[in-house]
Amino acid sequence: MTDTTWDPSKPILEIENLSISFFTRMREIPAVMDFSCTVMAGEAMGLVGESGCGKSTVALAVMRDLGKNGRIVGGSIKFKGRDLTHMNDEELRHIRGSEIAMIYQEPMASLNPAMKIGAQLAEVPMIHQGMSKDEAWALARQIVADVRLPDPDRMLQSYPHQLSGGQQQRIVIAMALMSKPALLILDEPTTALDVTVEAGIVDLVKDLGHKYGTSMLFISHNLGLILDVCDRLCVMYSGEAVETGNVVEVFDKMRHPYTQALFRSIPLPGADKNSHPLVAIPGNFPLPHERPKGCNFGPRCDYFQDGRCNAADVPMFPVPGDDRHATRCIKWTEIDWDAPMALKASKEKTPIGKVVLKMEDLKKYYSVSSGAFGSGTAKVVKANETLSFEAREGETLAIVGESGCGKSTFAKVLMGLETATSGSILLFDENVQSTPIQQRNTDTVSSVQMVFQNPFDTLNPSMNVGRQIIRALEIFKQGGSDEERHARMLELLDLVKLPRAFAERMPRQLSGGQKQRVGIARAFAGGAKVVVADEPVSALDVSVQAAVTDLLMDIQRENKTTLLFISHDLSIVRYLSDRVMVMYLGHVVEMGTTDQVFQPPYHPYTEALLSAVPIADTKVIRKRIVLDGDIPSAMNPPPGCPFQTRCRWKSQVPGGLCDREMPPVQVLEGGHQVKCHLSAEVLASMEPVIKIAAE
């Protein structure tokens, strides 16, 4: 269906002064206010902001799918010149899927589990172009090949659960492309995927965008990703667009304090926990019904001026000379944007002490019975293979890897929730590898604690904050009486910089970052010496991430804690860790100091991982290395080197060694360990993945 009246030089999507509200029993909650943006043909527009800023609501409004409670209360959304806000269901139905298509965050959830992939794909042209079934399937086959999926015929006959996450997302993309839409909306399309898989999807989206000339509305919280994919972007804060413009211009010449604060709170190459610490944005994101008068960012802004910033609603000011660059800051002409950021007092580097934790040849195998009813044969999953390392007092050791690499199993074994299959764990010179937690003494238990990933899960929702911390104190035999423990609990709240009044609050009254702080307080209740932090900030917004990371670092400095920081996010790992251990399918493939790991020579997997992480800095030039395929299942690992199925250096190893033999650990200069067959010369010839362009 093509609209003959539409002139391709006009914008494809034109949103003007859009306001959206959700209506609950109690009140009207404005979700988006006075939002405008324009997407031209073939252009990729990024919508970026923290959770709750309204970016997904905008996307759903374009689709006119706001649910029962959501309503567009003002403004217009023009698609090819026609106002979507006034269309009836039948008109909308013709546009959805054929002219505007959407790609979602959770690929598994967005595919129908009980329908074959082919049927789900073929449905689109059958509805919109009235195509016959055979033609539609043929088209589906072609598009599946286009999204670079192997064996398209088998794919079409599969059910979604038989595909991996990356494959599912490719299918969702194929489904969106079935009728060659003019506009593609992507709502955090790679958030649920591993970084190396994400890189492939991002490449695909970019290529297909060019190939089909599709315009894109790309929603993400990840500035690096936006820089990778988009031409223009729009930064949103608390329901409003605060800055919009060309990506490069906004990144290099930001003109809104929020954008600036956002960039200062993300760990870019060059940031360092001691000399260049991150600057967290103070305060909290305002709740939708508690937004301040005037500028929404006012209360958290360094440049706030009473009586001006909170006087009246702030309009968008165009930035002259730039390409459609605009900012919603009343003081933008007065602020000195090039002033270097006020350096927080740089901190002493924590001295590294004696070895507190030592693992040797640790192995953890599980036997799982496959098949839905446990009737299949038992298989052995090698979650951890010959893990050896040591961690010292006051040190931060990062454990990096994607899903299935065995980092969580490792944490469980260390904590004593599981016992090791073989090997030894020495904790303060005590063997604990086969001591389950119930048999460990209180001292051991309280000195090894854990900070969990999901802030919404980490606290018991039906117990108040104080009670949960006091319980930890009781268990760790801290304090002699209830009063002492109560006092100690308040001190712990001080330690994690939470108001003491929070002791009486229930977890649901806290924001994600605050909950994570309580989780940290609880972990340190018994004076923990070793803390395992399992992706402690990955579920938090970037501005909160910085604050929580800082807090962890501060406590570490004070208590000389050994921090085992598990993460898949290499940016934050580079920022805070002293040493890094890279894991792949249960193996440690590379280990060394942060500098050693982030500079060549790399293990081929580390190289790909580094290349895959998007960096929100226009000056950084990355070499693109996109890995083929997905991470193999830990149930069925490839023979020989675990990484050989995706390795781009494999041809450099003579005699097919990679297919047959587990590589040895090569110890390079300075104790840098790499588990690879590549010869020292080849390793030495590697080029850095990330280069910072000369100014």
Partner: protein, 361 residues
């Protein structure tokens, strides 16, 4: 798949053994046997006579041994009394003990003799089961489509007016057990003094005293709408509400799934979204529920058959239990347990069949 069925069958056999043993144990408690002795022998027997009667009729010994005999995996008892007459579990009247079989339990098809109906148990149970089969068939024909349609209609647009009204109906019917709905239905449709029958009679619209018949006895020979509608409705009503609520819950959950949004935003018509994308996923749960309803339906069958005096399986069960007819009660239990287990098996297999995620895992 084969392995799965085999495993399920194994569990099923184990369950059947456990359940029949429990029934056997509970029906063959000493007080029941004493009662049996007094009804079969004489009411004025002395305690000693009762004890010896029990002993002489093979009801002595360990309960496990007797269970094994009843099941047919142990040789039936044989006793020769003082008069030299040899009697035994497997020896019919006037039969030569030498020609009698060694094993004669349920597995051999020897289900015993009913003291109430004076007929072999197997014969009477099968006959009554046929009558109940008709009842169940009509209940299913009414209940399943009605409840599924109700559930799907109310679940597809949660919170709509249609949903609200259908939900209230469904809740009301689940709040009405068979013995209440039966009474109310009879009051409205089959009472000569109340409900609509007297009015219709006065207007001359019906020739009989009542619109529907208050009993279903005549349906034993000839099922008509007028004698069968009320019992069928009584059983179906309770189930309708329950299954409709399950279907609705399942449907509302499916309708909030992302893949439904995907379908909607692909431009699929709402009707097609419901029929092609939602229905199959939404029916997985209710299907299991319908099958697991059987032990429950049996309850309704017993009540309804008692209420409408329909001499089917449920009615037989009541008679057997009320008259201490041990063999008949055991027979009924075996049948009931088998029916329940078979439906459970069907439900499991059907679940696997409906849900592709499980089939190929």
């Amino acid at each position: 798949m084969l392995k799965f069925v085999a495993r399920r069958l194994g569990v099923m056999v184990l369950t059947a053994l456990a359940l029949t043993f429990v029934v056997f144990y509970l029906t063959n408690l000493p007080p029941n046997l004493e009662k049996l002795a007094r009804t079969e022998g004489s009411v004025r027997m002395t305690d000693q006579a009762v004890a010896s009667w029990i002993e002489n009729n093979g009801h002595g010994g360990s309960v496990f041994g007797r269970y094994a005999q009843w099941l047919g995996i142990a040789p039936g008892w044989v006793l020769t009394d003082d008069k030299g007459v040899t009697r035994g579990r497997c020896i019919q009247n006037n039969q030569d003990p030498a020609t009698a079989a060694t094993y004669c339990g349920v597995l051999q098809g020897e289900w015993g003799f009913s003291t109430v109906f004076k007929k072999p148990v197997l014969e009477s149970v099968l006959q009554k089961l046929g009558s109940t089969g008709w009842l169940m068939m009509w209940v299913m024909i009414v209940m399943v489509p009605v409840s599924l349609i109700m559930g799907v209609l109310s679940g597809m647009r949660e919170g709509s007016r249609l949903d609200r009204s259908l939900s209230i109906v469904a809740i009301a019917t689940t709040a009405t057990p068979e013995y209440v709905s039966g009474v109310i239905l009879v009051a409205i449709f089959a009472s000569a003094t109340a409900g609509i029958s007297p009015i219709l009679h006065d207007w001359g619209w019906i020739s009989g005293k009542t619109l529907f018949l208050g009993t279903a006895t005549s349906a034993m020979d000839n099922i008509t709408f007028w004698n069968f509608a009320l019992p069928v409705l009584t059983i179906a009503l309770y189930g309708i509400g329950y299954i409709a609520r399950m279907t609705r819950a399942s449907m509302t959950e499916v309708m909030t799934q992302q893949y439904i949004r995907t379908a909607r935003l692909k431009g699929v018509r709402f009707r097609t979204v419901v029929m092609r994308h939602a229905l199959r996923n939404a029916l997985i749960a209710p299907f299991t529920v319908i099958m697991l309803q059987f032990p429950w339906l049996l309850n309704g069958v017993v009540i309804t058959e008692a209420l409408f005096n329909y001499k089917g399986f449920g009615w037989t069960l009541v008679q057997a239990a009320g008259n201490n007819d041990i063999d008949l009660l055991l027979g009924c239990s075996v049948v009931a347990v088998l029916v329940v287990l078979v439906t459970q098996l069907i439900s499991d297999i059907g679940y696997v069949f409906l849900n592709p995620r499980i089939r190929l895992a």
